[in-house]
């Protein structure tokens, strides 16, 4: 069995933003009973012993946790490489300096668009100026900086301008990640899924930038799987390289797996090592034995692992089916229809969006 390389620690689902493509669960209120500082510290120790090297501190907004500096300090003492994944709201100079002293290695800031008004509208709160200021602060304090932009129908036509902004704040990496349709994003899918023409233009701009900026800034462009022939290798395989722990201590093989009808595993009840190696949840889709056709006999079964179990469940009601994104899936029609609708010339470019609430957290 492989050891996990990365742990996504979702410290809280509370967030000052209310982005309509948030990957957090719809039932945010069920996650209010958050792990304590000591519980997180124990989990980090267990993760390091299990082989975790990269720690991604995320949420919600991880800066809402008053003990974030303590958690980072523990991770640093364990030798983990620590990444803060943040909206940047709450990253004051004082807090940033404390995190720097605690050993935080890397900061990733989300930006919703390159224009202040559009960015603030998508985020659901005035935040653009503070994000840009925080990005400059991150560089000033000597951290490597990643800017992350979730792309969709309402901002994908401005990839060139987004890249210019990333250059201006001297980002080391920029992630242009097309929306993945889980949770809140799935509810807003029709309003978010771009057209094929939009995608092709964006990809061309990203590809040219990658060449132009080589050695200065890494440009990562994440394709939307709805437009791919084959599915994405979700998490590098189920229970193979990555794991997630949610604010209340649930351990998951994929951050979207909370929705699957599988037995729960929680770090309050069991050690991370036992959950990783023995729990029915992590065993369920490990390897290739669980696969139905057409995956079972497919030459790509060790390349994409049948795609995403959570997407299969969301779209077909059965997590063990081939990811419907795959053109070989018997359910591919579900995806093809959605894509067709996104390319209907009569669809408006800016439809109303359902927002996630700010919190599922008692403060």
């Amino acid at each position: 069995m492989d050891r996990p390389l990365g742990l996504l620690a979702e410290l809280t689902y509370g967030c000052p933003l209310s982005c309509p493509y948030c990957s957090n669960p719809l039932n945010l209120a069920d996650y209010c009973d958050e792990l304590t500082t000591a519980e997180w510290q124990r989990v980090l120790g267990e993760a390091q012993e299990l082989g975790v090297l990269q720690l991604h501190l995320s949420g919600g907004e991880p800066l809402l946790r008053r003990d974030l500096v303590e958690i980072v300090k523990t991770a640093d003492e364990l030798g983990l490489y620590t990444n803060l994944i943040t909206s940047a709201l709450g990253l004051s100079r004082r807090r940033a300096e404390q995190l720097r002293a605690a050993g935080l290695d890397h900061v990733q800031i989300s930006i919703q668009a390159d224009e202040p008004a559009v960015s603030d509208r998508i985020a659901g709160t005035p935040s653009f100026e503070r994000k840009v200021e925080a990005a400059r602060l991150v560089k000033e304090l000597g951290w490597p900086l990643t800017l992350n932009v979730v792309l969709h129908r309402q901002n994908i036509d401005r990839v060139a301008e987004l890249l210019r902004l990333a250059e201006e704040v001297e980002a080391d990496r920029v992630e242009l990640a097309n929306t993945q349709y889980y949770g809140w994003a799935l509810r807003n899918r029709d309003a978010l899924l771009p057209s094929k023409a939009q995608l092709e233009r964006a990809e061309m701009v990203a590809r040219a930038a990658r060449v132009r900026l080589v050695g200065r800034m890494d440009v990562i462009y994440v394709l939307p799987d709805y437009y791919s022939q084959y599915p994405k290798p979700c998490m590098g395989g189920w229970g193979k390289r990555q794991l997630t722990v949610t604010p209340n201590g649930d351990a998951l093989p994929c951050p979207a797996a909370h929705a699957l009808p599988l037995p729960r595993a929680n770090v309050r009840e069991d050690s991370l090592a036992r959950i990783w190696t023995e729990s029915p949840l992590f065993q369920r889709f490990r390897g290739t034995d669980w696969m139905p056709e057409p995956c079972r006999s497919c030459f790509r079964r060790e390349i994409d692992f049948g795609g995403c179990r959570c997407q299969a469940f969301q779209l077909t009601g059965d997590a063990a089916r081939t990811d419907p994104v795959c053109h070989l899936s018997p359910d591919h029609g579900i995806v093809a229809e959605t894509v067709q609708a996104a390319n209907d010339g009569t669809r408006p470019s800016e439809e109303a969006l359902i927002r996630r609430p700010h919190r599922g957290r008692t403060l």
């Binding site: 390091q48 082989g51 490489y81 990444n83 890397h106 990643t146 080391d172 200065r216």
Partner: protein, 93 residues
Amino acid sequence: MSTAVSSSSRPELAPYIRLTFDRAREQHVLLGPESVVLLNRTGADILGLCDGQRTVADIVDELQGRYDRVVDNEVQHFIARLVAKRCVEISHG
């Protein structure tokens, strides 16, 4: 910043990259923003010598004292691959 690697290049780890020993896997690893590179023993030895002072040629000389057979090109290619991943930086002269 140049990305070409020659025998006179002086490689060193990029500023945000950490070379460390992973006790769980009992092997050396390179850690950086969103990246993990698992290293074999030779790879770890090469990177241990990438101090910004030694040239690629110096590194090959040192390794020849430790191993039976060291191919100049292989060391250069290994370093070039890590330069492309922005794990290693080089200066000339």
